[in-house]
C-alpha cells in the first residue's frame, strides 16, 4: 500500500491521521480508495468532474503528477504521495 501524507487542513477528514496507507496501482485508484475510506475529504480534493481541484497539488515522491502522467501516474507500495493545498495564512477576506 502506498503512503499518503495528509496536510493539516485536511486531517479533520482522516480522523486526524497525518499519514494513511491506501491500496491502488495508480493515482486515480489511490484517490478513489482514499475518498471511499474518508468520504468527507472528497469535496476538498476533487471537483465535480472527479478531477483534482486546481488549488490542490498531488506529488508522487518529489514530482507533481502534472509533470508525470496525471491521474494515470503509476505508484508502488513504496510510493509517498503528498497532497499539498494552497494555504494563505491569516485573514481570508483581505481586510
Amino acid at each position: 500500500m502506498a503512503t499518503i501524507l495528509i496536510p493539516t487542513p485536511l486531517r479533520k477528514y482522516t480522523n486526524n491521521q497525518s499519514k494513511v496507507s491506501i491500496p491502488g496501482a495508480d493515482i486515480s485508484g489511490i484517490i478513489s480508495n482514499l475518498v471511499s475510506t474518508h468520504p468527507e475529504i472528497r469535496k476538498h480534493l476533487l471537483d465535480g468532474a472527479g478531477g483534482v481541484r486546481s488549488f490542490v497539488n498531488v506529488f508522487v515522491g518529489q514530482d507533481d503528477i502534472k509533470s508525470l502522467n496525471n491521474l494515470q501516474t503509476d505508484v508502488s507500495e513504496f510510493s509517498i504521495i503528498s497532497i499539498v493545498p494552497a494555504i494563505a495564512g491569516g485573514n481570508y477576506k483581505g481586510e
Partner: protein, 380 residues
C-alpha cells in the same frame, strides 16, 4: 549596481558576512544596493523585516495597513506591548531604524490593490510576500510577473509552512514558475477557514519567515541554489519537511496579458459576501428583548466555547450537518463564531443543503458582541 562605499561602522557591522568565503564583500555590496518590499508586517513579516534590516538590505519597504493588536504579540515579534493600537508599518519602521540606521526604510501604510500595486512594486527589486489572504497572494504574484520581479513566497497555516521563490530570473533569461503555476485557481472561500480563527503556532512564522528572509538574501547576493522551481513544506508537529519540484506553465503568463484583475472577485470573496444575511449585536439584543423566537447557534470549537460563550447552543462547524435536526426551521436562527467567518460558512452550507432562509450571521462574531455590548468577558 550603484557604487557602495561602506563606512568603517558598516564594515564592522557586516563583518560576519564579509568574512564568509562564499559570501564576502561582493555579496554584502549587493545587499546594500538592493531594494526589497515586504508585503505584510505580521507573523512572517516580523522575522523577514528584522533579518533583512540586520543583514543590511539597502532599502526596505514595509507594506501593511493594519494596527497592532494584543493577539499579534504571540508571534509578531517585531512589535512590543507599546505598539498595540498603532500602525504596524510605522511601528515596524521604528524598530528597524533602531536596529540598523545605515539603511533606508519606506513605509506603505496602505492596502495593496489592483490600482496601486504596479506603482508600489515598481520601485523594488524583490518582493517578499507574507500576506494573509488569497486575493492579495494572487495580486502580489501577478504584479511581480507583469513587472518581472522575483517574488519570495512564504505561507503558514496552523502547524504547516510553505516556501518558494517565484518568477526567478534564470541564467538563460527565462523566468521560473510562479504562484499560478502551482495554484492556477484559488480555493472556494467556503472551504477555507479564516486563519485568525483556525490559529497558528507562534514559532512557526518565525521558522518559515526566517527561511523566506534567507531566500531573499540568496536571490540578491546570488549565492547558493534558491528555491526556484521548488516548493518547500515544513510540518512543525512531525518535524518533516519536503521539497517538491514545480514546473512553469506558459499559459498562466498569457492570462496576465490584460493586466491586473479584481482579485476579490477572482477569489469568490465579494460574490459570497452578498448572499449571507447578517445582524449586528444590537439587532440581536433587540430581537431577544422583543421576545421574538430566536435560536442562537455557536459554531466554534468546544475549547473556544468553554473559554467564553454568550449562551448559544454549541454545534461546531465540523459537526453541523450531523446536527441538522437541532437547528430550527421556524425560528430566526442567529449563527455566531469568533469573528463572523465560520458562521457564514455554516449558513452557506445549510442554505445550500437544506434551502433554509431563516439564518443570520452575527456580525463580528462573539468578539464583536462582547465589544459592542461592553461585556466583562474574556477576548481571545
Amino acid at each position: 549596481m550603484k557604487q557602495i562605499n561602506f563606512s568603517p561602522q558598516e564594515y564592522s557591522r557586516y563583518n560576519r558576512h564579509i568574512i564568509i568565503p562564499d559570501f564576502g564583500l561582493a555579496a554584502q555590496e549587493k545587499l546594500s544596493a538592493s531594494k526589497v518590499l515586504v508585503v505584510g508586517a505580521g507573523g512572517l513579516g516580523s522575522p523577514v523585516l528584522l533579518y533583512l534590516a540586520a543583514a543590511g538590505i539597502g532599502t526596505i519597504g514595509i507594506l501593511d495597513c493594519d494596527v497592532v493588536e494584543d493577539s499579534n504579540l504571540q508571534r509578531q515579534v517585531i512589535f512590543d506591548i507599546n505598539a498595540v493600537g498603532k500602525s504596524k508599518a510605522d511601528e515596524a519602521m521604528r524598530r528597524l531604524r533602531a536596529l540598523n540606521p545605515y539603511i533606508n526604510i519606506k513605509v506603505h501604510d496602505i492596502k495593496l490593490t489592483s490600482e496601486n500595486a504596479l506603482e508600489v512594486l515598481a520601485d523594488y527589486d524583490v518582493v517578499a510576500d507574507g500576506t494573509d489572504n488569497f486575493p492579495t497572494r494572487y495580486l502580489v504574484n501577478d504584479a511581480c510577473v507583469i513587472l518581472s520581479k522575483v517574488n519570495v513566497y512564504a505561507s503558514i497555516y496552523q502547524f504547516e509552512g510553505q516556501v518558494s521563490v517565484f518568477n526567478y530570473l534564470n541564467g538563460d533569461g527565462s523566468r521560473g514558475p510562479n504562484y499560478r503555476d502551482l495554484f492556477p485557481i484559488p480555493p472556494d472561500p467556503s472551504t477555507v477557514q479564516n486563519c485568525s480563527e483556525a490559529g497558528v503556532l507562534g514559532v512557526l512564522p518565525g521558522i518559515i519567515g526566517s527561511m523566506q528572509a534567507l531566500e531573499v538574501i540568496k536571490v540578491i547576493a546570488e549565492v547558493g541554489d534558491v528555491l526556484s522551481g521548488k516548493f518547500y513544506t515544513f510540518n512543525a508537529l512531525s518535524f518533516e519537511s519536503m521539497t517538491y519540484n514545480i514546473k512553469k506553465n506558459m499559459t498562466n503568463d498569457s492570462i496576465l496579458k490584460g493586466g491586473l484583475i479584481d482579485y476579490e472577485q477572482f477569489c469568490g470573496v465579494s460574490a459570497i459576501e452578498k448572499k449571507i444575511k447578517e445582524i449586528t449585536p444590537i439587532e440581536l439584543v433587540n430581537w431577544q428583548k422583543q421576545g421574538l423566537d430566536v435560536q442562537l447557534v455557536d459554531v466554534r470549537e468546544f475549547s473556544e466555547y468553554e473559554f467564553v460563550n454568550i449562551g448559544g447552543e454549541l454545534i461546531p462547524l465540523s459537526t453541523l450537518l450531523d446536527n441538522r435536526e437541532k437547528i430550527s426551521s421556524d425560528a430566526r436562527v442567529v449563527v455566531l463564531c469568533k469573528m463572523g467567518g465560520r458562521s457564514k460558512s455554516a449558513i452557506r452550507l445549510l442554505e445550500e443543503r437544506y434551502s433554509m432562509n431563516n439564518l443570520y450571521s452575527l456580525e463580528g462574531g462573539i468578539i464583536g458582541y462582547i465589544r459592542e455590548m461592553e461585556l466583562d468577558l474574556p477576548i481571545y
